[in-house]
């Protein structure tokens, strides 16, 4: 069935806290991983399916986070309303940005999005009056969902798991639809896609905005969950890490992106002891994956297993066939 993988994944996410109750690692790392999954799945729609690169995605993550933080702390807005306005603002900015930017290709697009990410980061640092500058913004109130206050790690795990599953579900639906096929067509051959009546510019613009919305959604949750944010969480380094997650897991696969996000989060957690070498190990791992599993961890491994499976079944059938033919003789 179409959503089998999704239900298996959802069940594992739901079972984890039951199997390991009150486990700090599960909840805290789970929360971080969940947010990364939302970011990576959204970015994968753009990179993996539309074939467009964004090296400034942390900027959209930051916009969602700061919109929520500023509106709830300075204007006492309710969290959900702030989140909605944050999404609206980020979506609009992404749409405006897409107009000139998506006309560019390849390296130029990478440079343009990178530039955008840097500019947003500088604004977050410099606009001290609004953002608190490098010191960040604190005392962001807990998120309240129709009266239910999300204020401990267990609850956050539940909320972020639900948000993560929602984004995976949305992504799976999108990919396997008229819109998703149009995107993949644009990636395959823009010229041919146009001749099938697909407005390539429009398709790319739409998915750029969607991908920014996924990031802003994650940002808003992140702000409430952390209760404190600073520009460090939205730097160029983070943008690069997000791209790494998508590539690491396997491009053009929703679960690939999700696995990449989880793998990289776990790696970070286990590398804190080697803090000084983190970047080094991170880089070496990425190189190893690129060399040995160029399609990414998830896609590479699942395909490998499937191929071995098929060849084993095939060889078994061959043996049967031989036996039959000897009998016939």
């Amino acid at each position: 069935m179409r959503l089998t993988g999704f239900f298996i994944f959802a069940a594992s996410v739901a079972l984890l806290p039951v199997l390991f109750p009150d486990n700090y690692f599960v909840t805290v790392v789970g929360i971080a991983a969940g947010l990364h999954v939302i970011l990576a799945v959204g970015l994968n729609l753009l990179i993996g399916y539309a074939g467009q690169i964004s090296l400034g995605h942390a900027a959209f993550f930051g916009m969602g986070a700061y919109a929520s933080a500023i509106l709830t702390t300075r204007f006492d807005w309710p969290g959900l309303l702030a989140m909605l306005v944050g999404l609206l603002v980020t979506g609009t900015i992404a749409w405006l940005l897409a107009q000139p930017i998506l006309r560019l290709r390849g390296h130029y697009l990478a440079m343009a999005t990178l530039g955008f990410g840097v500019i947003v980061h500088v604004i977050l640092v410099q606009a001290t009056h609004w953002t608190g500058g490098p010191d960040g913004l604190g005392e962001i109130p807990a998120l309240s969902l129709l009266g239910w206050i999300v204020d401990d790690d267990q609850r956050w795990y539940g909320v972020i798991a639900a948000a993560m599953l929602l984004s995976i579900w949305l992504s799976l639906n999108l990919v396997d639809s008229r819109i998703g096929r149009a995107l993949r067509a644009v990636r395959g051959s823009e010229f041919a896609a146009e001749m099938m009546g697909i407005d390539a510019t429009r398709a790319k613009t739409q998915i750029f905005v969607v991908s920014a919305l996924f990031a802003a959604f994650a940002g808003s949750l992140f702000a409430h969950q952390q209760a404190f944010i600073s520009p460090d969480s939205f730097s160029l380094m983070i943008s690069v890490e997000l791209v790494t997650m998508v590539v690491l897991g396997g491009i053009a696969s929703t679960f690939g992106a999700a696995c990449g996000a989880i793998a990289l989060t776990l790696l970070h957690e286990s590398l804190v002891v080697f803090e000084d070498y983190e970047l080094l190990i991170h880089g070496a791992l990425l190189m190893a994956v690129m060399i040995f599993l160029p399609q990414g961890l998830f896609v590479g491994l699942t395909q490998g297993v499937r191929r071995r499976w098929i060849s084993r079944i095939a060889s078994r059938q061959d043996m049967k066939g031989e036996r039959n033919s000897t009998v016939q003789q």
Binding site: L170, N173, L174, S177, R178, I179, G180, R181, A182, R184, A185, R187, G188, S189, F191, A192, A193, E194, M195, M196, G197, I198, D199, A200, Q206, V210, A252
Partner: protein, 261 residues
């Protein structure tokens, strides 16, 4: 021919690339519901004509009218929406998709699903998916590709890839189909199958512009021919007229005509 209406009218079309005049004032009219072949030696401007027709190049001068509407200046996807579909001389399949998915992309214009509806997978989206699948299936069947539907487009042999391109173009239910050298690289059996396919497509009411070098195929299947040479029209007429035209024989066809007859 005088009775059938004109589907495509090209007037004094010019396309230059720097110093090269790829099309130097080409005019012709294609009546509806027939196979109209465009032949000419390598570099005559046939592919360029297709590329101008479908909005990939903006012509230097001239007009293109499809069912009375000016095509010049329209982006490719708008031209496609008017009912023009095409295949490509150098394959432009979506190798990252299955055969069925490729052909379903061909159905793009016949679907309505918006991004939001798709993301939420509303019930109407499921209905439309089923319909698109069915339409794509019909196009595959017409092209005798049903058994290859689930294969990856990139894993097919060349001859089948070319046929998938035709199926993909047909899935759009076009009024005008542009085929750029569909027989190139095919063996004799495949070419015969192609001839039958072209006749079936014409019978379904689709007008075909056929660019092709394979003379036996062209002469047996087309209703009218246009001969291009160095970007200009050398001759236009029914196959018999073209085969008898001394200018065509001298400039281009030569032995090929004899062979075809």
């Amino acid at each position: 021919m005088t009775h059938s209406s004109i589907l495509l009218a090209v007037e004094a079309l010019e396309q230059s690339f720097g110093g090269v005049m790829a099309l130097a004032g080409v005019s012709f009219q294609t009546p509806e519901n027939l196979i109209y072949a465009i032949i000419g030696p390598n570099g005559a401007g046939k592919t360029t004509l297709f590329n101008v027709l479908c909005g990939f190049y903006q012509p230097t001068a001239g007009h293109l009218r499809f069912d009375g509407q000016e095509l010049r200046g329209l982006p490719s996807h708008r031209i496609a929406a008017l009912g023009i579909a095409r295949t490509f001389q150098n394959l432009q399949l979506f190798f990252n998709m299955t055969v069925l998915e490729n052909v379903m992309v061909g159905c793009h214009l016949r679907g309505r699903t918006s991004l939001l509806a798709a993301a939420l997978r509303l019930p109407k989206v499921r209905h439309e998916e089923r319909r698109l699948r069915q339409w794509a299936g019909e196009a595959l069947e017409l092209c005798e590709l049903s058994s290859h539907a689930e294969r990856s487009a990139g894993a097919l042999p060349y001859g089948l890839m070319k046929r998938v391109e035709i199926a993909r173009a047909l899935a759009a239910k076009p009024r005008l189909l542009l085929l750029d050298e569909p027989a190139a690289g095919l063996n004799d059996t495949e070419t015969m199958a192609l001839r039958d396919l072209l006749s079936r497509i014409r019978a379904a009411g689709v007008t075909i512009l056929l660019v092709e070098h394979h003379m036996p195929l062209v002469m047996s299947v087309s209703d009218r021919l246009l001969v291009l040479d160095y970007g200009s029209v050398l001759a236009e007429g029914a196959p018999a007229e073209i085969q008898a035209n001394p200018r065509v024989i001298a400039a281009y066809l030569g032995g090929a005509v004899q062979y075809a007859i």
